[in-house]
């Protein structure tokens, strides 16, 4: 770790708090950004560290959202245990799916994640008697956080809650990716065969990180369900998985912070541009992606790092 970067990190994590006091009108958007950042971070574990391209990561996000939402809709509105339940269900499902994912080669892997995502979407869509189908799951009522802070319309509790969970998850995940385990994942990303040759249990590593990534995505989904007190089918949609991939790549993969920066830029731009015209937004987003692939592969943080090194 470079000297001075600790200070940058502290400032970075103080920014959301500053936003909390300075931009009270944007708290709802702010909590969405925090939540999706966590979601993007969970994908970064797979993509940035283990090199697994997933087109169906929303499956775990949605599963977490429905778990927390259903719990709250059926009389258990305690937020923290809801998070735990969501993380557990998403992680278990991720664990099961990971065996399918680890098995295949690149293309088959891509298709399996895509298939699992679509399967979950269809499942939720068809099981309307449980999930509310296209109308979404309503009737989610949350209890007060710690029995003290209500989730009210001002969104203050929601924002700080999402912020605290994101920060906690970040600290935990940073430990994970900087551990020997994280290092072995990067090894798998760079050269799977060689890692196997030096005796690293490649598949076990991938199963572990996929499960962890799914669990974290589940937490993010649960946060969204709890703070908006609603779960829609779009939490499972393909476009959510695709957008997520875009945000992560926009920020830069394999550095955790890229997830946050990418999400911030993406969602602020989306909020602004799709306010003007949603069709334009989709067009420019597509254009941006194509340009990014050709000209700026490292994302925003990658470009910043390159600039920094050139000085």
């Amino acid at each position: 770790m470079k000297p001075g970067s600790r200070a940058v990190e502290i400032v970075f994590w103080l920014l959301p708090l500053a936003a909390f006091f300075l931009l009270p009108g944007y708290l709802v958007l702010g909590s969405q950004i925090l939540i999706v950042s966590l979601f993007a971070m969970s994908l970064d574990l797979l993509l940035g560290y283990a090199g697994i391209v997933s087109l169906g990561h929303a499956a775990f996000f949605g599963l977490g959202a429905y778990t927390a939402g259903l719990l709250a809709a059926h009389g258990w509105g305690e937020p923290l245990t809801g998070l735990v339940a969501a993380a557990a269900s998403a992680a278990i499902f991720g664990f099961v799916v990971s065996f399918l994912v680890v098995r295949g080669e690149d293309l088959a892997r891509l298709m399996v994640t895509l298939g699992v995502g679509l399967l979950m979407f269809e499942a939720a869509n068809r099981a309307a008697f449980i999930t509310g189908g296209v109308d979404g799951l309503s009737g989610v009522t949350m209890w007060k956080l710690f029995g003290v802070f209500p989730f009210d319309l001002s969104g203050r509790t929601a924002f700080l809650y999402a912020y605290a969970v994101l920060l906690a998850a970040f600290l935990l995940l940073r430990r994970v990716v900087n551990s020997p385990f994280g290092l072995s994942l990067r090894g798998v990303r760079e050269n799977r065969r060689r890692m196997a040759a030096i005796g690293s249990p490649v598949n076990r590593r991938l199963v572990a990180i996929f499960t962890l990534g799914a669990g974290v995505a589940g937490i993010a989904g649960a946060l969204l369900a709890q703070t908006t007190q609603f779960v829609g089918l779009d939490t499972l949609g393909f476009e959510r998985s695709a957008d997520l991939l875009i945000m992560l790549v926009l920020g830069g993969t394999g550095r955790l912070y890229g997830a946050v920066v990418g999400t911030l830029v993406f969602m602020v731009a989306q909020d602004y541009l799709s306010g003007i015209n949603p069709v334009y937004w989709q067009f420019w987003l597509g254009m941006l992606l194509v340009l990014f692939v050709f000209f700026a592969r490292g994302g925003i943080l990658g470009a910043a790092e390159a600039l920094w090194k050139r000085r």
Binding site: V53, L55, G115, N125, F283, G286, L289, V293
Partner: protein, 287 residues
Amino acid sequence: MGQAIGVLFDGIAYGSLLFLVSLGLSVTMGLMNFVNLAHGAFAMAGGFTCVLAMTRLGIPFLATLPLAFIVTAAIGAVLERFLYRRLYNAGELDQVLFSIGLTFMSIATATYFFGSSQQPMHLPDFLRGQFHFLGGDFGVYRAFLIETVIVLTAVLGFLLTHTRFGSQVRASVDDATAARGLGIDVDRVFSVAFALGSGLAGLGGGLGIEVLGLDSTFPLKYMVYFLLVVVVGGVGTIKGPIAAALLLGVLDVAGKYYVPQVGAFVIYAAMIVLLMLFPAGLFGKRR
């Protein structure tokens, strides 16, 4: 019994359409290992070409089909030359992102010009209605569809197995490096194959308006089906995609007919199971 035959028939018609559209994708993924999620956009372009030609220019439906082929093949050739080609050696993630970007752009463009509603389709009289055969009622258009695809497949099969170009394509799919060493211009082979594949997708899109529908979300809606045909069918043959497309077509129609409450679930579950059972495709020849 008649019902089951009807479902089978519709499934085959649907499957042959899937095959027609997916063939180009099979070449892209097989020849250059390019994961092209935007393939459905070519089919959509073909569909809109047909609709425009019919409504604006008053050209009869059958005459718009060659037009759809030519226009989409031209679009494919241009995109291949300026964009796709630069990513052949890129990682899978780059290809995925690039083609998602292209898909989004195509959807937004289509929405901008045509709105997001279903496009109307007026078949000529002689393709409408049903005919009675062996105790079942069959749609005339679907029979036409199957015949068309059979003829096209025969032509393509001939092209691939009996012409110089076909040999070059097969050689390049089998081993691009060796093919290069033998003096085959693999890049050029691929450009032509890409344009041809895009054209076929466009043709399929035009033919498919009646069966698949046509609106601006088309590329995303059918993306999985096209990918599936290729992944399940394996690459480098015509046989694989045919079998996969027919299987998927019949499964999908049967699923929607007999267990409508489960819907598209059948096809996604089938996809995962097939991928597990045949990781290298039905007639596995995966490098």
